[in-house]
Symmetry: C2
Subunit: 557 residues, 2 copies
């Protein structure tokens, strides 16, 4: 396997070299030239005079960027992988350094502090200049997040040939900032468990594509892997095993790891539904635990919901949520609120008794329950996040700053906007990674999934975040995310089901909508190859023959 | 994460312990008891007096089985993972050995020799007895393959608890043999390349589920990774890189590795279509190389087909095929024959000239081409394998022993049977693993795949191999296989797209059709967990909560 091969190069392909860098997401403004440039052996990332005392985690981010420049070793995606450019590369001028400079004098907070700030306050823009004559490149920003995003872009400018790290497209000028402040990815760690190392690999990949929010659907009806201080019994009796848990130290580690990479971790403890497993430790708080036939009492087994009409259960829930919320740095905390099953409560004696004694309807009790929980969360400085049902299906009182995630259908976005709530796009018809690969129900002979078909990267990429909204309503859109519900996923397919598909929404919500899938594909190939170089098992989208020849595998008239 | 948890066990689940072992495929006959039994610390696999000099590779297979018994460490799929059985297990009698005994005195060939013999001559049956009182278990067979299959079954009888390997279901009696002689898996290593280590992992997983044929679609239009002696230039110019090749040593290693695991490697060099890449080294032999628009000249870019009307090209092809065939031990060799594009030849000057000079039609020339190639292969002892078009779309003369793979549609099986050819089921509507996850065409905005939807394991499991066939025609069915075309697959998703789905046809063609998906699912979970224990990234089919509770996640009326 060590033979040296020579390759016949068709001039055709050389002429079709992609005209832009393989950056993902595409920057807002990008100009490139045709000058080869290579990194000096002693290439440095420096801080300019006006940034003499950078935050420690920005220094570390610069260190990681330098490491990526060394380790990515990604060959250009052309048939000869760059070999025919060897002469141009070996004769190229050297880039000796990248200098990070403040746009105006200010005291930078750490990346980690900026990453967990309220969405509207985050500044992620940057300007990057790589001169054609070599010497020093400049990355200018006014925030640590801006520098981090710029470093991530810088990492993607380079290819490798014979131990030389080069570009053929200097000078390079980039002015960039995100279209939307919320760019996320949701992982469900309850249907199946994922070790901390898997989550860290997700965070690494997210950071590479400038995603900034890890929505962690950490617990659900099936398992409760989160050890919440003061509520250890829930995970002791509700985790799949003593090994399949997230300890407070694990959470701290994940939250810090994410924050240093510009990612806010928004945890979710779904309430009042999706809580069956709490019945193992607190049967007094759960209505219809494991009731059968499950399909009458829940959308997924096991059935069981918090007894929302009980003041004891409400106190328990508020206390659980605030204790969990304190484990995280985020401004946000999700209380869920999807798929509440009415029959479960109708047939629950204690709930019927409570409602009757309090003279409340179910909806009134739900309103009280949610308000109490949200009040408690606000007491510990958290802004609530909910699923769309809390706005569309139930007359629940929500504060105006509540983030509402639209998941059932993208058609529901307008209705949420009409109620003047901030919106995160998470629609199953565009962003659900689990659809179309068979259903999880045991005796599902036909095997279809409820949200067929498979959502291709092209589908999510083509989403319009403000379709049907007025200009005023459009301001409510905070961004969006791909989501991985894990009924049929685990560590074995986390990477392959997620990447590079989830990168399509990363570009959608960074660069903005309207991108052309044919033009995007070559860059997405590049990202896929780079992810693999970094140990993330992103899947190929085409035969390698096509990946090396942009556009040649398109259908033409 | 090291805390010891206690688990609350619902008596309900204990009562629902699966009544059969988690064997996959299900044996033809199986009886079990309720006696706990554990493997002795010095458990041995021995050869009985009538098998004093077993083949070396059978000894090695026994060694691997013993290693699996040690290393699988699979906990029972019940909510407490077996903890509540600790007392029964620690008090159980010991099984001290498994003895391999011949059913009648005969001289055994090696597994490797038996694995590559003609399909009809293979003997894979065995009888396995594990006594309830411990002592010695017995595996009886009359072939090395039979012993291998029995060892594989024996490995799956056991679970692990606190370093004890046990069963709760002794005594066990199994009488088993396959329903069909051909039980395969096809991998395309041309659209995207797979390292040898990936192929070996596939072979390990195949052997676990008693699959016996690795159909290796090794080359195609996009790349030619196979180094064929005397034709090295094809892969030198046609592999994706000098690292993405299979050397003769690699092939020998793969063939031996497979054979020792009871697997025949049937290579395919697809002809005359799917050969574009040969134009890089032999432009004289390829019509319409990389012609555009590709969709007019091929089903997939790049276009290009062997100039079948040329006697030089026919000689070249026959010589290439025989040289490649000699690299493999199999009795079989596939010359492909799918998706021949007529327009490519119609517009090829040299082909037109040849046809005119010879006074032949295209179909006559194709017949000559195929006959010459098959004659050459027979000359080196090979039986040809072809895709269905060679029977259904073209009046090609084929010998009666030719294996015909039906891929376009399962509806075509009857037509092939009417022509009295041996059939391998490989229909895209049941067995294509790549369908339903988006299309590979670059500017495919809607993103669908040509063979939507996704083929669930339930779909393939429900296939009837003899539907619509007469009893006489049914005898033509040799078996079938799942197939992985790799336009959108690579090492990153080989395991996750293949397993456990491909195991559904393994059981279908071993146990026979008619299995119930609800009853099969718990055993398939077990297989999925065991595959993961062995380093194969099989994906979960349900939340772990469901996997631990057979049937509880079924829909009930």
């Amino acid at each position: 396997m060590a033979k040296l091969f020579s390759f016949v190069l068709s001039a055709l392909w050389l002429a079709q070299l992609p005209s832009s860098f393989a950056l993902w997401p595409q920057p807002q403004q990008l100009t490139t030239g045709k000058t080869p440039l290579r990194l000096a052996n002693d290439f440095k990332i420096m801080f300019s005079d006006n940034l003499k005392d950078p935050p420690q985690d920005l220094k570390e981010a610069a260190g990681r960027a330098k490491e990526h420049l060394h380790k990515d070793r990604l060959q250009a995606l052309v048939p000869d992988r760059g070999a025919s450019s060897a002469g141009a590369i070996s004769g190229a001028k050297h880039l000796s350094s990248l200098s990070l400079a403040l746009g105006y004098q200010t005291k930078l907070k750490s990346i980690a502090e900026e990453a967990v700030a309220p969405l509207e306050s985050r500044v992620e823009g940057y300007t990057l200049t790589v001169p054609g004559e070599g010497g020093q490149a400049t990355l200018q920003a006014n925030s640590s997040l801006g520098f981090l995003r710029g470093l991530t872009t810088f990492e993607q400018l380079w290819y490798e040939l014979q131990n030389t790290t080069y570009t053929l497209q200097a000078p390079i000028n980039i002015v960039d900032k995100p279209a939307y402040p919320y760019r996320g990815f949701m992982l469900d760690t309850a249907r199946n468990y994922f070790p901390v190392s898997d989550i860290k690999r997700v965070l690494d990949a997210m950071s590479l594509v400038k995603l900034n929010t890890f929505h962690w659907h950490v617990v659900d009806s099936q398992s409760f892997p989160l050890i919440v201080p003061g509520f250890e019994e829930i995970s002791q009796k509700g985790a799949y095993s003593s090994a399949q848990i997230y300890s407070p130290d694990d959470v701290k580690h994940i939250v810090n790891y994410a924050a240093q990479r510009g990612i806010d971790v928004i945890p979710e403890i779904d309430t009042p539904g999706h809580t069956s497993i709490i019945s193992k430790s607190h049967p007094e708080h759960i209505a219809c635990p494991e009731a059968t036939p499950w399909a009458q009492f829940a959308n997924e087994p096991p059935a069981g919901q918090l007894r929302l009409a009980s003041s004891n259960t409400t106190k328990f829930t508020a206390s659980l949520l605030t204790s969990a919320a304190k484990m995280f740095q985020s401004t946000y905390f999700s209380t869920g609120g999807d798929e509440i099953n009415k029959k479960c409560y109708d047939e629950d004696g204690p709930t019927r008794t409570e409602l009757s004694q309090q003279g409340k309807t179910f909806e009134q009790a739900l309103d009280t329950f949610v308000q109490e929980n949200h009040k408690a969360l606000k007491g510990v400085g958290k802004t609530p996040v909910v699923w769309e049902e809390m706005v569309l299906d139930h007359p629940v009182t929500l504060s105006n700053d509540t983030l509402v995630m639209v998941w059932v259908s993208s058609d529901h976005v307008g209705s949420v906007a009409k109620k003047n709530h901030k919106i995160v796009h998470a629609a199953s018809d565009y962003f659900y990674l689990d659809c179309g690969a068979g259903g999880w129900v045991g005796n599902n002979v036909n095997g279809n999934s409820w949200c067929d078909p498979f959502k291709t990267w092209q589908k999510s990429y083509s989403f319009n975040p403000t379709a049907g909204l007025t200009p005023e309503q459009s301001k409510l859109v905070m961004g969006g995310q791909h989501l991985l519900w894990t009924e049929q996923s685990g560590p074995s397919n986390l990477d392959s089901i997620t990447w590079p598909r989830a990168a399509s929404s990363a570009e959608l919500f960074w660069t903005g909508p309207g991108g052309d899938v044919s033009k995007a594909l070559p860059r997405l190939h590049d990202l896929q190859f780079r992810l693999v170089q970094r140990g993330v098992n992103a899947i190929p989208l085409q035969p390698m023959w096509c990946a090396l020849r942009p556009g040649v595998c398109d259908l033409t008239a």
